[in-house]
């Protein structure tokens, strides 16, 4: 059931960057695939009591202990309810693998870096540094996640 991100079709656009587009509550988010390790359905969390509330638990990813973050919570929304479409997006942050729980992965798209716009003020006010910017994709405004934010400055690094 794992979907390798490298399966995505390449596009004829000039110097595009591939990004995964996924839904997190009411947000449509994007993440450049360079930082994505894999996307899977490994949702067998072992809870870690006393962990920050946005940590859903830990999973065993081929011998590595991976912390799974409830991205909805991290973005200030209601906790994720697990569904068939729920995915675990594994990213690499500073040599550590971290899982990001998302409602659903919609697509792998190619984005022109030039089309990335600054985060609209209302989003920026709400979530500060969560996004690097936004891209218009069809009807959706895709917010590009900033990994540094997910590194968890809030955990007192």
């Amino acid at each position: 059931l794992e979907r390798s991100v490298t399966d995505a079709k390449s596009s004829p656009l000039s110097r595009p960057i591939q990004a995964a587009v996924f839904r997190v509550g009411r947000y449509v988010c994007g993440l450049f695939i360079a930082s994505i390790q894999e996307i899977n359905k490994n949702l067998l969390f072992t809870p870690v009591h006393e962990a920050p509330d946005y940590v859903r638990g830990i999973i065993n990813l081929r011998g590595n202990i991976v912390t799974v973050i409830d991205l909805r919570r991290k973005l200030g929304l209601e906790p994720m309810t697990l569904q068939q479409s729920t995915r675990n997006v594994i990213v690499k942050l500073d040599r550590e693998m971290v899982g990001l729980l998302v409602d659903a992965v919609d697509d792998i798209v190619e984005l022109d870096p030039a089309s990335i716009l600054p985060t609209p003020p209302h989003l920026a006010r709400e979530l500060g540094d969560a996004f690097d910017g936004v891209v218009q994709l069809g009807n959706d405004l895709v917010a590009i996640l900033q990994l540094g934010y997910l590194l968890g400055a809030t955990t007192g690094e």
């Binding site: 072992t46 830990i58 202990i65 697990l82 550590e96 007192g156």
Partner: protein, 942 residues
Amino acid sequence: VTDSDDAELLQVFLEEAREHLDGIEGDFIDLESKDVLDLEVVNKIFRAVHSVKGGAGFFGLDAIKKLSHAMENVLGLMRVAQNKPSPSTIGTLLTAADTLVQMLENTAESADRDVSSFVAELEAIAASANSTQASMPATQPLVLEPQPTASLAIPTAISVAETLPDEPKLRPATPAVATEQPIPVLPLDTTTPAAATPAQHPPAPTTAANARPGLPIAESSIRVHVGILDRLMTLAGELVLTRNQLIQSHEANTTSHSEATQRIDHITTELQDAIMSTRMQSVGTVFQKFRRVVRDLANTLGKEVDLIIEGEDVELDRSIVEAIGDPLTHLVRNSLDHGIERPLQREQQGKPRRGTLRLSALHKAGQVIIEIADDGAGIDPARVRAKALEKGICTKEQLAGMSESAIIKLIFRPGFSTATEVTEVSGRGVGMDVVHSNLARLGGVVDVQSNVGSGTLMRIKLPLTLAIIPCLLVGEERESFAIPQANLIELHRVPARELKHRVKKFGDVLVLSVRGELIPLIRLRDALNMPQSSYPIDSNERFEDLRETGYDRRQNPTDADAELRSSTDRRHSHRSAVNIAVVAAGELHYGIMVETLLDSLEIVVKPLGRHLRSCNSYAGATILGDGRLALILDVVAIGRRLQAADSGEALASAKLAAQRTNEHQDKMTLMLVENSGEELLAIPLGLIERIEHLKRSDIQRVGGKRTLTYRGKSLPLIGIEEIVNIGPCRDVARLYAVVYRSHEREVGLLVSDLVDIVDSSADLDELTHRQPGVFGSLLVDGKVTLLLDIHDITRRSLGITSQPEALQPERRVSTVLIVEDSRFFRERLIEFNRDAGYNVIVAEDGIEGLEALEKHADAIDLVITDIEMPRMDGLEFTRQLRRISRFRSTPVLAVTALMGEEAEDRGKQAGITEYLIKLDRERIMDRVKYHLSDGIRHWSAA
């Protein structure tokens, strides 16, 4: 030569220089410790410094070159003079070597470093050694002993060549090095800046490559990057897990590929060992640095100390070797600062002037034991006691009950420091508690033994590695947790019926009684703040189901509450038992109550991610054989919070309260039984010999009396309802006979059910329910319970009329002193003794007892005393009684609720003649009579 080549060469040079300098610290100390100059060692140092100098010159590291050159000069002179250098010279050379090391660590900035003062100092030493007149003693704080100068005449080239036997082999092309070696004519002016020296000194630039004299690098070792070892370690860990998995599935699958499984098992184990051994490092790397520490510190403190190092070859995991440095330093400093006395003081005490500090390591039972022993002043328990009181670490009462060794261990408590003044060397506010918890974090344990006047021994036990550790796996709420074996002391399975005695609650603090000692207890789910229901780990549940369960639970919070209560209650029901793992977190021992004990296994420790660093209850996680995860509990952190939560005080007061209840209330251990199912009946447990489980059909009726025949004997059976006004025995197929001895025979009391065994200190109501066969009533868990007088029941049921033996006509009626604080028991004893025809004198505690002894000194023939009494207990009372010559051989019978061997021993030591069970009328009066007739015989013989 390109820049990158240069950089590479420089790197090689630096690595080698570091290797050279690594050893010289120890060499200098060797030099100092020997009585005569060891030329071998001087040469070794000389070569090391020389090759550093050569390399530094080649790379244009001038400051390094200057400093090493100045050192070389001093060493050269030392060689020529063949005189042992003074400690101050060694000191200067050591500091210079330190500076060299620092500069080599940062070559880029080494040029900016001002080494002129060092150079000047070294030159001064050289100059004074060189000068026939020791021309400037006033300006030289560091002076070599004046020495004959004749040796300076010896041609230096020869002496150098002779004493450098290794050099020619390694550098055949450079005899020049030796001949050019300046045993120089140094400027006598010590204020000359270092710049003046290099001119005399043009050794051919030695490249890093040919400056490789030092260490015998055998081909058996290669450099491997630590990262690679870590990776190998991880892989070995993976293999271990896969192996476990394989074995598990194999066990389920029977025999087919058993050979392969076995082989994999062996290979994995061996590979794991081999890889682990690559991470092993000898503890000597840590020990060595103490030679310097001890030397410097002893000098600072004006003490003379010999350091003995043993077991340097003992190997430990790298991470542990790195981590023990600080705790060891602290302990060594402590020994020197507080332990070993000044030379004069030692002589006054008849000890050798020089103190000895022994640092040793050895393997024992899969652990490494490191000992730090000194022959110093030892730790004075009296001072520790005073300090503990002053700092509020313990109360007077707590201290009173502690052994000396327990008191000494108080030094590991937070906030304790025995140094009366904070010295620069050790007492810095942080103290032994930090050592203790640091070691505990490594899975280590530290213990202390000390004798005043003869020294202190610190013993540290450490695991060999931290990467793979044996653990106990426990379960709570369907999750698994691992407790490192290193922290584990023992496991207790407490059956429900014992729970009430063993586990007590004081306020919010649970305590567990372990062999008479109370330790704090915490439920695992409370320790981790686990919600009542967490996400199930069962993988097969569908997500929709998952949500539903979650939803249900949220809907019904009261259910969860009820569940909590019932799970608490469940532990009190008959069948269940609770599992308690007693763990050590440094000085603190505490119990963790868990739902299930799962397994004992070796686990691979994996670190938790950055987002979980704030959760300090865990030391990491591990992957179990079935792929699930288990968090590893950080027993030390949980313990620290446990201690902080009740700030020690609540627990201490709980302990005290518990002790008080144990001490001064007469606790009776009662067996609760039922007969008709309507009344709860109690029988003192101490009187019961055994319980027989029997079928109703086993009971025979002979002449209106019921008996049970077994093992060829017949046991008279008594129905309680025959005597006591209660409902008849329930009509059950199987019932119990409570067997006890009464009136010189065994009898069985029939009951329908055994309910529980409880400790009761409740007051007995002797009025409301007083009737034949019943002492009275008491409340057990809020229920009125009748306390049966089984001897009375027996007497009435078997128709035994009053005393079987009539009172013997004695020449003199004996007098018994009864010392008992509880009115109920006191009255029973009075009754027993009056019925037997003795005179009775009564006292309510030990002090009254002593007064009675004084008042009726001539009359008292025998004493019966309770043990636990307020003001003065029975033991102290007996001790004091034995000091009165009149009562030295008077029989003293102690009555207790339940005997224990240990208590009995203590009693015997205090002078108690015999221990008896309270309310055991027969036995008590039997012994009273025995001792009195004995006493009378003596008395009449006298």
